[in-house]
Amino acid sequence: MAKVLVVTSGKGGVGKTTSSAALGAALAHGGEKVVVIDFDVGLRNLDLVMGAERRVVFDLINVVQGDAKLNQALIRDKRMENLSLLPASQTRDKDALTEEGVARVLNELREKFDWIICDSPAGIERGATMAMRHADVAVVVTNPEVSSVRDSDRIIGLLDSKTELAEKGGRIEKHLLLTRYDPVRAERGEMLKVDDVLEILSIPLIGIIPESEEVLRASNVGSPVTLNNPASAPGRAYFDAVRRLKGETVELTIPTDKKGLFGKLFGRRAA
């Protein structure tokens, strides 16, 4: 049974697209058939982060409006054949996303994939509500920072009231993904700690992604961090999150990028 997962946050720039790509690639690495959909109509970026920006011909809006077939718009990843991308339109308006159209596309995708990851745009407008509308599971991406936590709280409220599942009286499964976490600053009292954020938002934690230069390095070259450097701290953290998403119990640790003595003495390697 296919699962529809929305990656959402309310606030922009917290790591929704990075996380959508990383989780998608990690799930695909485990043999699952995965499609990642960009819902950010007008400001698409998932194609760029996944290194498929030059392969976009048709997009989600074309399929929703019946101008293209689903198979024409799906872009299969060159590195993993069981990972696909459905890009957003860069030129159209968000209003072109109709609820029926999106539902039809998702139902068609449910036949072909095990996981459908919906990368939500920031905000609480149509793109964001459409991305979460038909989800079974939500990953709420949050930075340990006041504005991000506040917006996540708002999004959790919307997940509990405006999704199809919630309207039918069900409860959408929600998970917190804490990104850009710096354990050293948190320990010094300069940054909200994991427990602070968990206490405030009251949803279960699926992973802690440490602040790391590997994330930028991966997006620079157009590769999900879990594919580009699976052994890096964020890579391992995303793989752990995926195991928890699949129901495994994994001890919660914050991976670190350990530099050897040589690395410490002679600086960083170039990307």
């Binding site: 920072e145 006041v146 936590v149 506040r150 409220g157 010094r188 300069e190 940054m191 206490e199 405030i200």
Partner: protein, 87 residues
């Protein structure tokens, strides 16, 4: 930064945490479609206390913390000293 201020530096994360807790208790009431519970409690508690002791509006603090297991309501009322109360 002087040496003294370095040692006296209050960490900022607890401030962030407290500000968020107060703000979200307020906003959850609004978004949930319910009236602002904290503000309403504040007004009603103030009215009851004022039947017996005169207190200023600003001297009543109502805080609500919501958690998965336990939620707490914290009410702090500053009552004027004996000299002020008689005046």
């Amino acid at each position: 930064m002087s040496l003294l201020s370095f040692f006296n530096r209050r960490t900022s994360a607890p401030v962030a945490r407290e500000r968020l807790q107060i703000l979200l208790a307020h906003e959850r009431g609004i978004v949930g479609g319910k009236p602002d519970l904290v503000a309403q409690l504040r007004e009603e508690i103030l009215a009851v206390v004022r039947r017996h002791v005169m207190v200023e509006q600003d001297n009543v603090q109502v805080k609500m913390n919501r958690d998965a297991d336990i939620s707490t309501l914290e009410i702090e009322i500053e009552i004027p000293g004996p000299a002020e109360a008689r005046a």
